[in-house]
Symmetry: C2
Subunit: 242 residues, 2 copies
DNA sequence: CAAGTTAAGAGTCTTAGGGACACTTAAAGT
DNA sequence: ACTTTAAGTGTCCCTAAGACTCTTAACTTG
């Protein structure tokens, strides 16, 4: 076999001569709504796990997807109308038994977007829904999607401890209190607002828009911020307490 | 199709009716030797990239491998004779173009082991070699294995900043200076020995064997340590400076 | 309109732990 | 015995997080 030239080898190569395995890309899409963390679930229209709720995602389209990220974004855009502003790979899970059809590997991503960035009307279709993450974790989901949500949530928690990545679950402009509340929801723990604001000043990856929030509420009107480019990569030297 | 029962669907399911893609598992195996970080490379015996050096790894064996970790360990044990004491998934890379045979995904792991734990005689075979990581990165390797080594190294650097994971590249017993030197090599930066020792005491994941090193050298004879179980999971709250 | 209430945001003290560097200790070499 | 070298300790400084208080600017209510 290794006597062949590479050209001849490739010309005669046919993937169907080999035992291949299934490869899928699934994403855990988070957003924040009313101070709660939500996750997007999709009702399966096919076997296996027909009619079960599961993660948005699916097989790689060897024609259309140029790489794994593109595949994740394609499936997410199909459901939400947009490519989410933050996408990060969590891990891959593969085993002989996780899919009844055979050896199957899935690459899990998690994504963040603002609820209002969703351009499709999710309430009007019955096979896609936003569900509080805690609630999703109590359902019986397709495949091992529950563990995948747990892993994504764990990663997001770590990120909340040493970065400002969660900001991508907020709209274009937001207040520091909104961001702090989001971190608190993710971590399941309250944060000293002074510490939080000091960290934001230190990180220098957010900027004031100059406007104040127009939302009328009781106290002082909070300043609005937006993210600078590169905010996703900032890492604090010290973690918040956990 | 969704009218079918699940049983009927699975009975008639044949993976070869679909456009599948290639799935491989590759590992970057690091060890330390003479104060330098080494990586295990394997010379390819098959097309494509015949005779190029690349990472140990390969296709999933749908019969023998129960999951991705087992697949990584199997390929590593074939070359080194042992399952490495530390194995961690780095990321997955997949695209239409990374393999000339078609759409291909690879799950990259990195592993750590002591050089002396290697039970095969690597010097006596000519298709496997330990190479300093810096040197490996200057070679033209198979596929995108160079980027994979870079990603693994980057992950290992992060781990060296906030954990004691690199300890798994040392033998069963080791001195704190050896561990510190290893961290310094990985980070490319010297560390204050006082800080390093304080962190080790704080972490409480190493224990003294009670013995002193028998290696005869000039100065005071250093104490020997071993890792406690669970050392891999310890995370410091503060990073070392980078 | 003045007083009260609420949330945003600043001031300041404490505290944990890393950086820097001098010092001590125990081995080998001369 | 004296020097050299590496292991290991003592101690001061400094950064940044935690805790708590105080101020500011909006609203609500009598």
């Amino acid at each position: 076999m290794s006597q062949q030239t590479e050209q001849a080898y490739l010309a005669s190569y046919n993937i169907k001569d080999y035992d291949t395995c299934l490869t899928t890309v699934d994403s855990v899409l988070f957003t924040v709504l009313n101070g709660e963390l939500y996750t997007l679930l999709v009702r399966r229209a096919n076997h296996p796990y027909l009619a079960y709720w599961g993660l948005p995602g699916g097989f790689i389209d060897v024609q259309r997807d140029v790489d794994l990220t593109a595949c994740a974004n394609r499936h997410l855009a199909e459901k939400t109308g947009i490519i989410p502003p933050y996408l990060e790979q969590v891990c891959s899970t593969g085993s002989k038994t996780r899919d009844p059809r055979g050896w199957s590997t899935t690459v899990t991503y998690y994504a963040l977007m603002a609820h209002i960035q969703c351009t499709t009307d999710i309430d009007s279709v019955d096979d896609v829904q936003w569900l509080p993450a805690t609630q999703a974790l109590q359902m019986e989901l397709a495949f091992d999607h529950k563990q995948m949500i747990e892993q994504a949530l764990e990663r997001l928690k770590q990120k909340a401890l040493y970065s400002l990545v969660p900001v991508y679950a907020l709209p274009e402009t937001f207040t520091l209190s909104e961001l702090q509340q989001l971190h608190e929801v993710i971590l399941g723990k309250s944060i000293q607002s002074k510490s939080f604001r000091r960290r934001i000043e230190l990180a220098n990856v957010l900027e004031e828009t100059g406007e104040l929030s127009t939302q009328k509420g009781k106290g002082k009107r909070p300043a609005l911020y937006r993210v600078k480019t590169g905010a996703a990569d900032y890492r604090f030297m010290r973690n918040l307490e956990h």
